[in-house]
C-alpha cells in the first residue's frame, strides 16, 4: 500500500500538528509523502518517533528504507536514527532533517494553506536542516517547475485565486471573527502590554507575534524617533477607548512609555459593500485570496508613511518655537507610531508570514536612506525646519486623510474600522499644520503692519512662505498617483478603496460605470480635454476632493490676512504645477496652472519654489524656545492651550 502511495502521481502532505504523534506506520506514511509540515508550538507539543517499522520492514520499491532514501546524502545519519530510535519534538525532528517545514503556531493555518496551494507552480523552500540532511535525495523530489515571479515559500502571484478562502470569509468566517474582535461596542483592554480593543488577550498566537515585534518597534523609536527627548515628560493625549472622547485622555508620559495600542472603530456585523462590483454583499472579515496582494500593497504603502514621517521630523525638537509646539510635534509623532501599529496589526492578523515580513520591513526602510528608502517620495524629503513641518502636516498629512478616508470605505472591514479610528487622530495633525502656517502668516502680517521687514527680525516673509506652500502642496498632490489609473479602477471595482465619503451616498452611481471624467492633458504647447472612464479616474477624483479641502484652508488663512489689513494673499498652486506623477509630469506649469516652456520654468524656479538661500534663511531662524509661554519671533502664539491648559503650561518637563 505504501509503495502505491509513493508511486501515485498525486501529492501528499503530512500535517504534524496539535494532538498528533507520528511514530511507526504513521511516520512511514509521513515519510512516503511529499512534504511534512510540523507545528512548533510550546503549548501544544507534538512527537515524531522513529521506531522498528522504519528499520527495513516496509521497504520502498528501490529496496531502501524510507530513512535511507531520505538521507541518501548522509547514510550514517539514517543508520544513527534507526539505531537510536529517538522520540522527538517537532523542533528536534526538524534538526534531524525529518521535517520539510517547521511552522510556528502563528504561521500554521496561513502557511499550510498558501504553501500547499502553491504546489503546482512554485517549489517551496524546505527548512535548512532538511536540505542539509537530504542533499538532493528524497523519496519524491519536488518537480522542477517554472517559478518566475514567485518568491520561494511565499504566496503565489496576485492572479492566484483562492476561492475557498473567499467562500469561508463570506459565510461563516465573518460573524465569528467580528464577534471576537469587537463587532458592535468593543471592550478596551488598557491593562494589557499592548492596549487594544481587538481581543488580543484571547488570541495567544497573534499576541505572541505582536509581542515579538514590539521590542523592534521600541528599538526603532529610540534610534530614529524624536532625538534626545525620550527621557522627558511630555503632556500627551493617549487613546483609552474608541468612542467619542475615548482618545482624549491627557497626562505626562515619557515617549517610549507611551501606550501604543491597537484600536478599531466599532463595527457593524451586517455592514454591506456600498460601491464597486460587489455592491450589496456583506463586507469581508477575512482577506479574499484574489485581493490578498493588492490589499497587502495598500496597507504596506499606507503603513510605510507612518514611521517615515517620524523619521523625517526627528531633529525638530531641538528648534521648537515654543513648548506648546514641541508638545504638538511629539503628539503627532507618537500617534504616527500608533498608526504604524494599526497597520502592523492588520498585516500580522490577516497576511501570515508575508505580513510579518512586511511589518519587519517597515522598520528596516528609512526615510532618505539611499539604499532602503521609504516607498513614497514625499516621505524621503527632509523636514528640518518648522515651516516644513507645518506645511507637511497641512498638505501631506491631508493626503493621508484622503487616503485613509478612501480606505475607510473598504469592503475589508478590519481595514475600514482601523482607518476610521486613525482619521480621528489625523485631524489633530492637520490642525497642527493649518494653525501653524496660519500663525506664521499672522506674525508676518503683524510685522508688515508695523512697517517692519520680517527679514530684519528673523521672521518669515510672505513670499518665502508661499514658496514653501507651493513645494509641499505640489509634492503632496503627487501622492495621489496618476490621474488615469487602471490600478485605481481595479481597487474601486474590488471594493477595496472608495471615493471620499462614498458611504454617505452622495454619488449617483455607486458602481461608477456610466460616466466619464474630463481632464486637460498637455499636447504640444496647449491643453486638450480628454475623457477617461470614471473608474480609471478614481485618483483624480480623490485629488479633486483634496484640492477643494486645501483651498478651504487657504481661504481661511486669507480671511485672517484680510482682517489684519495686509495686501498679501496666499494662493494654492494649481494641481498641474511641479508634478512628478500623472499626466502633468514632464511638463512645465506656473503655480497658476499655465503651460510654459522649460526655459521659462528654469528661469522662474526661484520665484516659485524654495531656493537653497531660502532654506538656509529659514534654518537660521529656527532657534529653540523652551520657556513656558514664550514663542519664537517668527510665529504668533497659539490662541488657546491644549485641553484647556493655560498657554504658559509646562507641556514638556525636561529631565
Amino acid at each position: 500500500m505504501l509503495r502505491r502511495y509513493e508511486l501515485t502521481s498525486k501529492s501528499f502532505f503530512a500535517l504534524v500538528d496539535q494532538g498528533s504523534a507520528f511514530g511507526g506506520l504513521f511516520l512511514e506514511l509521513a515519510l512516503a509523502g511529499d512534504r511534512i509540515y510540523a507545528l512548533d508550538d510550546p503549548d501544544a507539543e507534538v512527537r515524531v518517533a522513529v521506531g522498528p517499522l522504519s528499520d527495513g520492514r516496509l521497504p520502498m520499491s528501490n529496496g531502501l528504507t524510507r530513512l535511507e532514501s531520505r538521507f541518501l546524502a548522509d547514510p550514517d545519519h539514517a543508520r544513527r536514527l534507526m539505531k537510536e530510535q529517538p522520540v522527538l519534538t517537532a523542533a528536534e525532528a526538524d534538526e534531524q532533517g525529518l521535517v520539510t517545514f517547521l511552522l510556528e503556531d502563528i504561521d500554521w493555518d496561513d502557511d499550510v494553506r498558501t504553501r500547499s496551494r502553491s504546489a503546482p507552480r512554485c517549489r517551496p523552500t524546505p527548512s535548512p536542516a532538511w536540505r542539509r540532511a537530504c542533499g538532493t535525495a528524497g523519496p519524491r523530489p519536488a518537480r522542477a517547475r517554472s517559478s518566475a515571479g514567485c518568491r520561494p515559500g511565499r504566496t503565489g502571484s496576485s492572479r492566484d485565486p483562492t476561492p475557498p478562502a473567499r467562500r469561508r470569509c463570506r459565510a461563516t468566517g465573518s460573524l465569528s471573527r467580528l464577534a471576537s474582535t469587537g463587532g458592535g461596542m468593543s471592550t478596551v483592554d488598557l491593562e494589557a502590554k499592548i492596549p487594544n480593543n481587538v481581543g488580543l488577550r484571547d488570541n495567544k498566537r497573534l499576541l505572541r507575534a505582536l509581542e515579538k515585534w514590539q521590542p523592534a518597534f521600541l528599538d526603532w523609536w529610540r534610534e530614529l524617533g524624536p532625538s534626545d527627548f525620550n527621557a522627558d515628560q511630555v503632556y500627551l493625549r493617549t487613546a483609552v477607548g474608541v468612542g467619542k472622547g475615548g482618545w482624549a485622555h491627557f497626562d505626562y508620559v515619557k515617549m517610549p512609555d507611551y501606550r501604543w495600542g491597537i484600536f478599531l472603530a466599532d463595527g457593524d456585523p451586517l455592514r454591506k459593500i456600498h460601491f464597486g462590483d460587489n455592491l450589496g454583499e456583506v463586507c469581508w472579515q477575512e482577506v479574499p485570496g484574489e485581493f490578498r496582494n493588492r490589499l497587502r500593497r495598500l496597507i504596506v504603502t499606507q503603513g510605510d508613511t507612518e514611521p517615515a514621517s517620524v523619521e523625517q521630523q526627528r531633529m525638530l525638537g531641538h528648534t521648537a518655537p515654543s513648548l506648546a509646539d514641541l508638545r504638538s510635534l511629539f503628539q503627532v509623532n507618537v500617534e504616527e507610531g500608533r498608526h504604524l501599529w494599526a497597520m502592523v496589526y492588520l498585516l500580522h492578523t490577516y497576511f501570515g508570514a508575508d505580513g510579518r515580513d512586511e511589518a519587519d520591513a517597515m522598520l528596516e526602510r528609512h526615510s532618505g536612506d539611499p539604499d532602503s528608502p521609504r516607498i513614497l517620495e514625499a516621505f524621503n524629503e527632509p523636514i528640518d525646519t518648522w515651516l516644513d513641518f507645518f506645511c507637511f502636516t497641512t498638505f501631506t498629512d491631508r493626503d493621508g486623510k484622503y487616503q485613509l478616508a478612501a480606505l475607510a470605505e473598504s469592503a475589508f472591514d478590519p481595514l475600514a474600522r482601523s482607518t476610521q479610528f486613525m482619521l480621528n487622530e489625523e485631524a489633530y495633525h492637520m490642525q497642527t499644520g493649518e494653525n501653524g502656517v496660519g500663525r506664521v502668516l499672522h506674525r508676518t502680517a503683524e510685522l508688515t503692519r508695523e512697517g517692519t521687514d520680517p527679514r530684519t527680525v528673523g521672521a518669515l516673509p510672505f513670499d518665502l512662505v508661499q514658496r514653501y506652500i507651493n513645494f509641499w502642496a505640489s509634492r503632496s498632490m503627487d501622492l495621489f498617483g496618476g490621474e488615469d489609473s487602471t490600478n485605481a479602477a481595479e481597487s474601486f471595482a474590488a471594493g477595496l478603496k472608495g471615493r471620499y465619503r462614498e458611504g454617505d451616498g452622495i454619488y449617483k452611481d455607486p458602481k461608477a460605470l456610466n460616466a466619464q471624467y474630463k481632464i486637460g492633458v498637455p499636447e504640444g504647447d496647449r491643453l486638450v480635454e480628454r475623457e477617461i472612464p470614471l473608474r480609471r479616474a478614481m485618483n483624480a477624483l480623490l485629488l479633486d476632493s483634496y484640492v477643494a479641502d486645501c483651498q478651504r484652508i487657504v481661504s481661511r488663512w486669507n480671511r485672517d490676512l484680510e482682517r489684519m489689513e495686509v495686501d498679501f494673499r496666499v494662493a494654492l498652486p494649481d494641481k498641474r504645477f511641479n508634478r512628478n506623477q500623472g499626466v502633468y509630469a514632464d511638463h512645465s506649469f506656473t503655480p497658476a496652472g499655465e503651460l510654459v516652456s522649460r526655459e521659462e520654468w528654469e528661469r522662474r524656479l526661484a520665484e516659485w519654489l524654495p531656493s537653497q538661500e531660502d532654506r538656509d534663511y529659514v534654518k537660521a531662524c529656527m532657534k529653540p524656545v523652551h520657556e513656558p509661554g514664550k514663542y519664537a519671533n517668527w510665529i504668533a502664539p497659539h490662541s488657546q492651550g491644549v485641553n484647556e491648559t493655560p498657554l504658559d503650561f509646562e507641556y514638556v518637563k525636561f529631565h
Binding site: 467619542k244 486623510k401 485631524a427 454617505d504 451616498g505 452622495i506 454619488y507 476632493s545 478651504r552
Partner: protein
C-alpha cells in the same frame, strides 16, 4: 422623497462648543424614527472651515448651512429636516459663501 444627509461638524472649534452633543441628540432622534436611514442620514464631518461660527450643521440636498447652533435650536432644525417646517433662517448665512461652496461642490458631485 430624496434621503437627506445631515452633517454635524466634528472639527476642534465646533466640538468645544458642543457639536458632539448636538450630533448624538440628532442621531438618537432619527435612529428611533428612521432606523434604516431611508429618510435621513446623520453623519459627523471633520471640519467645514466655518470654525468661527460653530457649531455648524448642514442639510443636503437642501443646501442649508446652519451656524452657531444650540441645543434649543434642534427642534426647529429637525422640524425642517422632517419636512414639517421652513429652514431656520436665523441660523443661516453666517459663514462666508466660499465655506459653503466647498461643501456643496463635494456633495453636488456630477458622478
Amino acid at each position: 422623497m430624496e434621503t437627506r444627509l445631515v452633517y454635524v461638524c466634528d472639527g476642534g472649534d465646533c466640538n468645544e462648543r458642543g457639536s458632539s452633543n448636538l450630533y448624538h441628540r440628532m442621531r438618537t432622534w432619527f435612529e428611533e424614527r428612521d432606523p434604516h436611514e431611508e429618510r435621513v442620514k446623520v453623519r459627523r464631518y471633520p471640519c467645514f472651515g466655518g470654525c468661527e461660527f460653530g457649531p455648524n450643521i448642514t442639510v443636503w440636498p437642501d443646501r442649508i448651512f446652519y451656524s452657531q447652533v444650540k441645543v434649543d435650536d434642534l427642534d426647529d432644525i429637525i422640524r425642517h429636516i422632517e419636512g414639517e417646517g421652513e429652514p431656520v433662517k436665523r441660523l443661516c448665512g453666517k459663514v462666508k459663501p466660499d465655506v459653503e461652496e466647498f461643501l456643496w461642490q463635494m456633495l453636488d458631485s456630477p458622478y
